[in-house]
């Protein structure tokens, strides 16, 4: 079996936001208007933000201040709270552990966005818009079958969307392997954020493969998961600084 996972080394992450924007251009999320952005309606599946370990934790007083930065894709939890609450199976965990979202099924009730403790799910408040000719840059990839629409295809208004670990890249890599008549290997694909990471802080791979980088790094004494206590068992593993 395959369990896709990501490791993010916070020591190497320099909060450049490259992942955030690589994701946008790979997955066709729109840049919303300034007013909408200020209201929190910007859609960046992969976000970067300053991170006190918890909100009440003191980050120190000048000059002994400690600022941290965090980058956060979808955790693709082993035990996702979002899939359980979806009334129509528009979001589900597939057999490779990816938490997926079917844009043509979602009814927009936003239960999953509310249930997700990481805030990784985003809602299309309006139909996504690009001022002409900005839309020319849209990634033409689509992952589709009858009644199912995933991947970076532009989402209609009123549906929930989220990080897919660039599932269309996985599909393309699989198709390529198939076309070349060989078995697909776990290191043939990485999501766009991993590929672009300026600090090479992201690693991607198969947790069920004992030799993969992510499996090795998961054992690091620096490894931790975000909000471990809520029992979601994320498959995004962080390596702490220092």
């Amino acid at each position: 079996m395959t369990r896709w996972a990501m490791v993010i080394d916070l020591e190497k992450c320099v909060a450049c936001q490259g992942c955030s924007i690589a994701c946008r251009f790979e997955n066709n999320t729109p840049a919303v208007s300034p007013e909408q952005a200020a209201r929190g309606r910007a859609i960046r599946w992969n976000d970067v933000f300053p991170f006190p370990v918890n909100p009440t934790e003191d980050t120190g007083e000048y000059p002994n201040v400690k600022a941290r930065y965090m980058t956060r894709p979808c955790m693709h939890c082993e035990n996702p709270p979002c899939t359980k609450v979806c009334p129509v199976l528009a979001t589900y965990k597939d057999e490779e552990g990816l938490v997926r979202q079917n844009y043509s099924r979602c009814i927009g009730c936003r239960f999953c966005t509310v249930a997700c403790p990481y805030g990784v799910r985003y809602f299309n408040w309006y139909a996504p818009q690009w001022e002409d000719p900005l839309a020319l840059r849209l990634n033409p990839d689509r992952l589709e079958s009858r009644g199912v629409l995933e991947g970076p295809a532009v989402r209609p208004k009123g549906v929930v969307e989220k990080c897919t670990f660039c599932i269309h890249r996985l599909a393309k890599a699989r198709a390529r392997a198939e076309a070349e008549g060989r078995a697909f290997r776990g290191d043939e694909y990485v999501p766009a954020c991993v590929q672009t990471c300026t600090g090479k802080a992201r690693y991607f791979g198969d947790l069920d493969d004992p030799n993969s980088t992510v499996t090795q790094l998961e054992k690091s004494p620096r490894a931790f998961r975000l909000l471990e206590e809520v029992g979601t068992h994320p498959k995004v593993i962080y390596l702490r600084e220092g």
Binding site: G18, I21, P133, G147
Partner: protein, 801 residues
């Protein structure tokens, strides 16, 4: 009557109980099991025709290699080019967002000629031929009048062949006025290295092998001249090797770099020289200097006699003037910290002290040059010059020499004329004095034709409004900008260049020491009626004819590139496919060897001897300033006399305003030093501000978006009765701006920060009227000796709006 009901309830209860039993038995399974996924065969559809083209990004000075995915003739994604040594396959948000530059709705679609008043915004479309004719006519007129030097070209961060091409063009026409914007940013660091090591270039730092990194000034991971190179080196230093190197950042603001560092040393702005010299003091007193280096390969460590006079050496000067107590008073850094950092620096070799590749904090005044010298000398003291883990000297790919310019008396005369920016004359040390052009024009320097290539001086220069005034006195202005930016608005002709994804170009790879070159090639056909400026200048040259035309025996810029890059060792097709070619592996020079003498120390000295000595006592400075008297020096803003002038030292920042008091603006009236910071997201280039994605992520550290903000220490804000997000006025002697205050704990209480690249009045719909431009508040004066723009010698006051 009761029976049917009760039977029904039995059934109901039974079903419920059985159901829960089943559920319970399977509960463990259900909890862990994957949910039923829709069993469907997914078809992944993608573009019908796809290709990947290698190119190089142009959105910041790093010039990362990119691989551009083109689907059905549309640029849909950029990835880092793994072959490119600077980014090694990575790409920062600016590069990722490049399709928004290409497909920007505010791009200019063809050449424009002004029809109304300057700056009134009335334009008509013209053809390229008309444009060529107009420019040719102007240049011919100047040449016929015998004053080709009255043509000037301001350019921005232009590297690779384009820079020498522009220079060659202007020289062929007969003008020395090719003015780079370096005086706004890297010139301070370059001068520091030049006055000590004798190399006029930014040094490369071998972070990969360094054990201790001490970074002065602006955040090297966000905003330097080459942030991506620094990130690559930094992450390798941290986690790419067995031993984790230590990083210390000296900066009044806790930038992301400082936050990622092991230690952040908040320092009073403009006092870096004192800190570096204080450290040198400790290192010398503890006997931790690299004795071999300072004795055999450095000049002026100990006192010396020359011209029959006893001169003071660096050692005595530092020991006398920069003991920790005094340095603590100057810098606000505790003496214990200074001693500790100095000790760590000197003992954790190889250690390296990094100069900021951005203007910013070192350009507080003349202190900027001295500070850069002082910081660079720290490397020399611990012997980190051209050793693994230390400072490297950047080498460049050899290019085929340009053919000699044909004989042209008009041009030769023009080339001898004084530069319009005063570099070398008014500013003896300066190579460029970009920001001074406005003042010089207003003071009477004659410019009749001004070309703006990749330059937007009205926006990007402190007190840029003066450029608008100066432009009024220039009869003919041409902008090659792809966007109608603030300066283009004042031009007579706007001749849009295609974006970097649609044109030919190249870029020297810098930051790693070893030579390399990256190719920029058209990824798709130009979207609009735009023309590569080089191609345009070809046409102008042909039309001007005569020796100017002879100087350009090529038909297109692509040919120029093929000509210049013929000797790099790769054939053109391979180079086009890879997008990058390099001679990897930096070869360190043994001290005193041939290579050391030829390339590492003293290479670019103009006046001082090329003798392989690293100047701790700057002989180059002595040539420029050595004979000056006290009054003259004071006029240049230098407080020292005698040997002190040539030695790196601390000059108290002369805050602009009231020169009679010496200390400038009264501190109690204008209590904050304004620091204009560059962000990773928006970067240094104006057009980036018109990319909506970059606008959206611009204020990540404080959680702002599409706006500017004033960073202020919470204590300072409390004293002013300001709360987070309050609207405030920021006022200096030079300007006033309204924004909102954001409380940031990681900031000295006497400093406020404004992010750069907001507050545009032009460029496009996404950039216009977003926030404020902090540069309008800054002192527009140039530093009198080095011609540098000053960025941290302005005090402001802040009050509620």
């Amino acid at each position: 009557m009761a029976q049917p009901l009760s039977r029904r309830s039995f059934l109901k209860l039974g079903t419920a109980a059985a159901g829960s039993a089943a559920a319970l038995a399977a509960l463990q399974n259900v909890m862990g099991a994957a949910q039923a996924a829709p069993q469907t065969q997914f078809q992944v559809q993608t573009g019908a025709e796809e290709k990947v083209v290698a190119s190089a990004c142009a959105l910041c000075p790093a010039g990362c290699g990119v691989l551009v995915r083109v689907a059905d003739g549309r640029v849909v994604k950029l990835e880092g080019n793994p072959m490119h040594p600077v980014n090694q396959g990575a790409l920062c948000p600016k590069g990722q967002a490049a399709p928004e530059l290409l497909y920007n709705p505010d791009r200019l679609t063809g050449p424009l000629r002004r029809t109304g008043e300057r700056g009134a915004g009335a334009w008509e479309s013209i053809t390229w031929d008309e444009a060529v004719q107009t420019v040719t006519a102007k240049l011919t007129e100047l040449r016929q009048a015998g004053h080709p030097e009255r043509a000037a070209l301001l350019h921005g961060d232009t590297r690779g062949q384009m820079r020498s091409f522009l220079t060659r063009f202007m020289q062929a026409v007969g003008s020395p006025n090719v003015i780079s914007h370096e005086s706004l940013n890297v010139a301070a660091a370059k001068l520091g290295v030049y006055l000590t090591q004798g190399v006029y270039d930014l040094p490369a730092y071998d972070l990969e092998q360094s054990r201790y990194v001490l970074a002065f000034g602006a955040g090297l991971l966000e905003a330097g001249s080459n942030p991506q190179r620094m990130i690559s080196g930094y992450t390798y230093l941290r986690r790419g090797r067995a031993e984790r190197g230590k990083v210390v950042v000296v900066d009044p603001r806790q930038s992301i770099t400082a936050a990622k560092a092991d230690e952040w040393i908040p320092i009073r702005p403009g006092t870096d020289a004192a800190l570096a010299l204080g450290m040198a003091n400790v290192i010398i007193r503890s006997g931790l200097v690299d004795a071999d280096f300072v004795k055999n390969y450095a000049f002026g460590f100990d006192g010396f006699t020359a011209d029959g006079k006893q001169h003071k050496g660096f050692k005595d000067f530092v020991l006398e003037n920069f003991d920790s107590t005094r340095v603590e008073q100057i810098t606000g850094v505790p003496s214990t910290t200074i001693a500790r950092i100095a000790g760590e620096f000197a003992t954790s070799r190889p250690a390296v002290a990094i100069l900021p590749g951005k203007g910013g904090l070192l350009n507080g005044g003349f202190d900027g040059v001295y500070a850069a010298m002082a910081v660079h000398i720290l490397n020399a003291l611990v012997g980190s010059i051209d050793v693994p883990g230390g400072v490297m000297t950047q080498r460049y790919m050899p290019c085929v020499e340009w053919p000699a310019l044909p004989a042209d008396p008009v041009a030769e005369k023009g080339r001898q004329a004084e530069r319009v920016d005063g570099a070398g004359t008014q500013f003896p040390l300066a190579r460029d004095a970009y920001q001074a052009v406005a003042d010089r024009i207003l003071e009477g320097a004659e410019v009749e034709a001004l070309f703006l290539y990749d330059a937007n001086p009205i926006f990007e220069v402190p007190g840029g409004a003066r450029f608008a005034d100066a432009f009024a006195k220039v009869p003919f202005i041409v902008s090659f900008s792809s966007f109608m930016d603030e300066s283009a608005e004042h031009a007579d002709l706007v001749l849009p260049e295609p974006t970097f994804l649609e044109r030919w170009g190249d870029d020297h790879i810098a930051g790693l020491g070893y030579p390399g070159i990256a190719l920029r090639q058209p990824v798709i056909e130009p979207l609009y009626d735009t023309m590569n400026t080089a191609d345009f200048l070809f046409k102008v040259a042909q039309t001007v004819g005569g020796p100017v035309a002879q100087a350009f025996p090529w038909r297109s810029y692509e040919e120029v590139l093929r000509f210049r890059l013929a000797d790099i060792g790769a054939d053109w097709d391979t180079f086009r496919e890879l997008g990058v070619w390099l001679v990897p592996g930096y070869r360190f020079a043994r001290r005193g060897s041939e290579r050391w003498l030829a390339e590492v120390v003293g290479r670019d000295r103009r006046n001082a001897p090329h003798d392989g000595y690293f100047d701790l006592y700057s002989r180059e400075l002595n040539c420029a300033l050595g004979g000056k008297q006290k009054d003259e020096l004071a006029g240049l803003g230098i407080s020292q006399i005698g040997d002190g002038v040539n030695l790196p030292h601390y000059e108290p920042t002369a805050y602009a305003g009231d020169p009679s008091t010496g200390s400038g603006q009264a501190e109690n009236e204008y209590p904050f030093v304004l620091n204009v910071i560059t962000l990773m997201s928006l970067g240094p280039r104006s057009e980036a501000a018109n990319m909506p994605t970059l606008q959206e992520i611009s204020g990540m550290t404080v959680g702002e978006t599409w706006n500017s903000w004033l960073e202020m220490n919470p204590e300072a804000a409390r004293a002013l009765g300001l709360a987070d997000k309050d609207p405030v006025w920021v006022e200096s002697l030079f300007g006033i701006a309204q924004t909102k205050v954001r409380l940031v704990k990681g900031l000295r209480p006497d400093v406020v920060n404004l992010p750069y690249n907001q507050g545009h009045t032009a460029v496009g719909r996404f950039a216009r009227n977003r926030g404020v431009n902090g540069l309008v508040l800054l002192n527009p004066a140039s530093e009198p000796v080095s011609g540098l723009a000053a960025f941290t010698n302005t005090r402001v006051k802040v009050y509620r709006a």
